[in-house]
């Protein structure tokens, strides 16, 4: 048996170990109910509740932005982002927030939003115009 095979074998075992441990980092998309139960940092997918208030007043606190998200189970919660309001936030369709529940609110440290493709709204625009 060549030494290099032994070392390669060890490395492969090590690699598999690392992969298994890396898989432990993967998370599932959660819901507000789940987040309240496990009290840990989770990702929640949902939609922006456009009929509810979106609040950002920098003169009061430039690091406080709140809005409401309806998660995949339809539960609507207030989400507080410690940060500035992102650009084009109103346009977002789907939202992924990372954070944890704090009382009845969801305290988000990160936010990813999915905006509609620009083709769609232009189509609407064209139809309105003519």
């Amino acid at each position: 048996m060549k030494k290099i095979y032994i070392i390669a074998g060890v490395l492969i075992l090590l690699g598999i170990g690392l992969l298994i441990s890396a898989a432990g980092d993967m998370s599932t998309y959660s819901t507000f109910r789940e987040a309240a139960r496990i009290e840990a940092k989770v990702k929640v997918v949902g939609k922006l509740a456009k009929d509810r208030e979106m609040y950002y007043n920098p003169t009061e606190d430039p690091n406080y932005f709140s809005f409401y998200v309806s998660d995949n189970e339809g539960e609507v919660r207030k989400v507080i982002l410690r940060g500035a309001k992102p650009q084009d936030f109103e346009l977002s369709e789907q939202i992924v927030v990372t954070g944890k529940m704090d009382g009845g609110d969801f305290l988000a440290s990160e936010l990813l939003m999915k905006c509609p493709s620009k083709y769609k709204d232009e189509e609407v625009f064209l139809q309105k115009e003519s």
């Binding site: 060549k2 030494k3 290099i4 070392i7 390669a8 490395l11 090590l14 690699g15 690392l18 992969l19 890396a22 898989a23 980092d25 993967m26 998370s27 599932t28 998309y29 940092k41 989770v42 990702k43 997918v45 950002y56 920098p58 003169t59 430039p62 690091n63 410690r82 940060g83 500035a84 309001k85 650009q87 084009d88 789907q94 992924v96 990372t98 990813l112 999915k114 493709s117 620009k118 083709y119 232009e122 189509e123 064209l126 139809q127 115009e129 003519s130």
Partner: protein, 944 residues
């Protein structure tokens, strides 16, 4: 439906373009076939070789025509084409047409194809005996890429099976809108233009470099396939090496450019975020570098031929996988910069399956054929440790890919669920909650490993163990390196003040690599870079890692108010943004920042922000101004992009970006809502008195008929009134001055209000100020006065003095004509108090065609009307008529004091220490690869 005859459309470029796509596709297939026949039996079939060459050249020409046509459509702004309409606009500068070209999938496929064409032609001229099989691979790759643009439907009258997305589609064919019922619709539409985020010079140079990198990964793969096909397992090792080195160098530079773009122009606040799209460009590079190392082993010792083949193949397959991930829409939940979906998923999957299947099939069939050296690598030989290093690199790539591909597993679960009829969405997994920590945790130890190996292995020799005497010498030398590295690590630690022993390990390993490689370059190679290109890359790698530790670990948001935050929150909860009012300095960590000014040029508003650093005695030790900007969209309705600005030092960067604007400035609709919510109240103020308006006290300083407002563009015949008002407020220790203005133009009134942000008020003049001008003379009681120059008299609380005459008077209502005799009397009107209010009126006396006329003067501040009616030649005096407007209460104006101030920005400032080490190291790394490629390039005399 009746066929409409449209006006003004240019249909020929679309036909030429689509035809050239099909031609390019067919010619690529033909080239692959002909080259393939030639490769099977190269001696007897020069006819096939000729056909292969001509087909590839035809394919190249057709590809270039496709690119030129698409470019022509965009350049000519033929908005009847969807691609032009969606990506350019009339006002898009020429330089950004390139960016617009590859903004979307078809353009970037063409960019990729373009580089394949260039590389293919170079290979045709230089690859000699490898030309046939290498070009088979290149042509097939091209056929697949061009098929993405075919836009053909397999089944008639159904769009169920579509091959490719044709970029030459007409807008009216891609969407169904009522506007297309108009035959002249082209008059009504205009292009949408390029996404403002992409209007940046980085987006002009980054994609071509990256795609040259991607395209050049195909060449080592093509050589691998050629070697397997020809069963020549040794002859390919030398010619493939410079190609692999070139590819790694260019791809690496492309990736670095991408991170420079992200750092400099986008507001991500960093140069690497472990975003899936970033990862998938890095991973092929890592595997390619692993392949280069085994390739070097194979060249010197004959070991590791199989691994080299596998690595080069995987590098290309990862490029294809990356293409799939970024272009299929699977990443939309997890990446900020994936392309939008075009429905090419199955085609992209087929692309990967065909090439991986092809490689596996031929590799496994030849597996036993590939020579393997019987004798074992000595443990202290260079190849032994280089091979270990390559394996480690490969694992690094594997780990990154494993996590990045999570969305693919979800799709697979969906597929399985569809097959078995179960709902498997419960199997879905998301990206790690904290991706940066996740990736860093694993790549950390890999980096330690690589640094140690690249530092130690360089002193070993190929093919033999060290002699026992040499072991001693080497160990001493390395001991010295370790000691030097420890010194440097201590210095780095002292400089950066980081915590955690693991970082010491990484920094130590990196310095060890830097020092060993420098030592090798300077003392063993005597500085001859020709043999030492690899040391350059290793030094670069070490420096880059130190730069990453410094700028990543000690990256610090300094934009928080240190007085407000002290002792309140833990470090990771410190707020990232501060509110900065115009001209009010604020203390953030280490600096005093002031928002000085902002200027709007075109669609970009640039802000000047001043940073001052003081020592303990308060002396200024450093001062600089940064200019971040906000780009607005074309209609000025919304904020489109925020461009950061960075002050660079040798040892650190201070990165500033505007994280937020007042809602009203970012969005016109919000501004309108706000304007509508203002409560204006009407006030009037007489000279030398103070009017209290809510919490404000307002007095009149003077007024003018000259324009003062920055938004006003004068027109002939405009009658202007601008008042200078002084504002005091209880919570203000100084007096503010503002000048609202109003204009009468063609019987319409235009008001130019002013914002007084400091006191939260908005002030405007109303049309009531014009009432005096429109007042008929018979409602006024004029008092005639005879005056000589310098004479004065009292009138209604004012002293009026004749201050002289003006022989060429100016007045809106006066247009001088030939033969006019016109003269104005300058009347100084002032209150009785010493430093009180004063104004000048200049009524005009005019003789035109022997008829005397006069033009009156009026002040909306004093309500005094004056006329200059007569010259009295007998005593040298003049007659003036003066009247006071009845019931005059002073200058009228309106104040809304519920206006929320909007003279502020939300600022985010980040300190990146030693970030220059990252750039310097990265560049050195790629430069070393490039230099090695150049040194090992094909030379005529060597091959023969």
């Amino acid at each position: 439906m009746q066929e409409l005859q449209y006006f003004g459309e240019h249909l020929w470029p679309g036909r030429v373009g689509h035809f050239s796509i099909i031609l390019s596709f067919v010619a690529a297939l033909l080239a692959a076939f002909a080259y393939g026949r030639h490769s099977r039996n190269s001696d007897a079939t020069t006819g096939w070789l000729k056909l292969g060459r001509w087909s590839f050249l035809l394919h190249s020409a057709a590809t270039l025509v496709t690119i030129a046509t698409l470019f022509y459509i965009m350049l000519s702004r033929y908005y009847e084409y969807q691609y032009a309409w969606a990506h350019v606009s009339d006002d898009l500068p020429f330089a950004y047409i390139f960016s617009a070209f590859w903004e979307d999938q078809p353009g970037s496929f063409l960019l990729w194809a373009f580089w394949h064409v260039v590389l293919g032609i170079i290979l045709m001229r230089t690859a000699r005996e490898w030309e046939g099989p290498v070009l088979v691979v290149m042509s097939l790759l091209q056929a697949f890429i061009m098929s993405m643009l075919l836009g053909l439907y397999l089944l008639p009258d159904s769009d169920a099976i579509k091959i490719g997305f044709n970029p030459f589609l007409l807008l009216r064919d891609t969407m169904d809108a009522p506007i297309f019922a108009n035959a002249d619709y082209l008059q009504l539409i205009t292009g949408k233009g390029l996404n403002p985020l992409l209007q940046n010079y980085w987006n002009t140079i980054h994609p071509p470099t990256l795609f040259l990198g991607f395209a050049s990964v195909s060449v080592p793969f093509a050589f691998t396939m050629a070697a397997l096909a020809k069963r020549e397992y040794k002859a390919w090792i030398k010619p493939v090496l410079p190609w692999a080195l070139f590819s790694a160098s260019i791809l690496g530079i492309g990736i670095l450019m991408g991170s420079a773009w992200a750092y400099e122009a986008l507001s991500f606040g960093g140069y690497w975020a472990w975003d899936p799209v970033e990862n998938m460009s890095l991973v092929p590079w890592i595997v390619l570098v692993a392949g280069i190392h085994t390739n070097l082993i194979a060249k010197s010792t004959g070991h590791s031929i199989r691994s080299t083949m596998v690595f080069y193949a995987i590098a290309l397959l990862l490029v294809l996988f990356s293409t799939f991930l970024t272009r299929s829409g699977v990443l939309q939940d997890s990446s900020v910069h994936a392309f939008t979906e075009l429905g090419l998923e199955w085609q992209l999957v087929l692309f990967i399956l065909v090439f991986s299947g092809w490689f596996l099939w031929i590799y496994l069939r030849r597996y036993r054929d590939i020579p393997v050296k019987e004798e074992e690598e000595p443990t202290s030989s260079r190849e032994f440790w280089m091979f270990i290093g390559s394996l480690v690199l490969f694992f690094s790539a594997l780990l990154i890919t494993f996590t990045t591909a999570i969305p693919v597993y979800n799709k697979l679960a969906d597929g399985l669920g569809w097959l078995t009829g179960q709902d498997l969405t419960g199997w879905h997994r998301s990206m790690p909650v904290d991706p940066i920590t996740h990736y860093n945790r694993y790549q950390f130890w890999i980096a330690v490993f690589i640094a140690v190996l690249s530092g130690g292995t360089i002193f070993l020799r190929y093919g033999r163990s060290l002699a026992s005497g040499a072991v001693r010498a080497l160990l001493t030398r390395m001991g010295l390196h370790v000691i030097l590295a420890m010194v440097m690590t201590t210095l780095t630690w002292w400089w950066l003040d980081y915590a955690g022993w693991v970082y010491h390990v990484l920094v130590l390993a990196s310095w060890f690599s830097v020092i060993s490689n420098l030592d090798y370059l300077l003392f063993f190679l005597k500085g001859r870079l020709k043999q030492g290109a690899s040391t350059l890359s290793h030094v670069g790698f070490g420096l880059m890692i130190i730069g990453i530790v410094a700028s990543g670990l000690k990256k610090e948001h300094i934009s928080y108010n240190r007085f407000a935050m002290e002792g309140l929150l833990s470090r990771d909860m410190i707020d990232r943004n501060v509110l900065l009012f115009k001209n009010s300095p604020l203390f953030i960590k280490g600096y005093e920042v002031t928002y000085l000014s902002d200027t709007l040029i075109g669609h970009t508003r640039t802000y000047a922000i001043d940073y001052i650093q003081r020592d303990e005695e308060g002396r200024v030790i450093d001062e600089f101004t940064v200019q971040p900007s906000i780009l607005f969209d074309r209609e000025f309705k919304k904020q489109a992009a925020s461009n950061p600005s960075t002050k660079r030092y040798f040892t650190k960067d201070v990165f500033s970006h505007i994280a937020g604007l007042p809602n009203e400035q970012a969005d016109v609709e919000r501004a309108k809502v706000k304007e509508d919510s203002l409560r204006y109240l009407l006030y009037s103020v007489l000279p030398d008195s103070v009017r209290s308006a809510g919490r404000l006290s307002i007095s009149l300083q003077n007024w003018s008929d000259q324009a003062v407002h920055p938004d006003y563009t004068p027109e002939k015949g405009d009658q202007v009134i601008a008042a200078r008002l002084q504002i005091r407020s209880e919570d203000l220790d100084s007096t503010l001055t503002c000048m609202p203005m109003i204009v009468l133009r063609d019987n319409l009134v235009y008001s130019y209000p002013v914002k007084v942000d400091r006191v939260g008020a908005k002030v405007r003049l109303t049309d009531a100020v014009f009432s005096g001008f429109l007042m008929p003379d018979d409602s006024l009681y004029y008092r005639p006065v005879e005056l000589g120059a310098g004479d004065s008299f009292d009138f209604g609380g004012y002293t009026i003095t004749l201050d002289g005459f003006d022989k060429s008077p100016q007045h809106v209502q006066f247009e001088s004509e030939e033969g006019d005799i016109a003269v104005a009397a300058n009347l100084l009107i002032q209150t009785h108090s010493a430093a009180g209010y004063r104004e000048t009126q200049s009524p005009i006396f005019l003789v035109r065609g022997n008829q005397p006329y006069n033009i009156k003067s009026y002040s909306p501040a004093t309500g005094i009307h004056t006329r200059f009616v007569k010259l009295n030649p007998e005593n040298g005096k003049v007659t003036i008529w003066v009247a006071q407007q009845p019931d005059f209460e002073g200058l009228t104006f309106e104040v809304a004091d519920n206006y929320e101030r909007e003279d502020y920005i939300v600022l985010e400032t980040i300190l990146f220490p030693l970030i220059n080490l990252f750039w310097l190291g990265g560049l050195l790394l790629m430069l070393g690869l490039g230099l090695a490629a150049w040194n090992k390039r094909y030379r005529k005399n060597e091959l023969s």
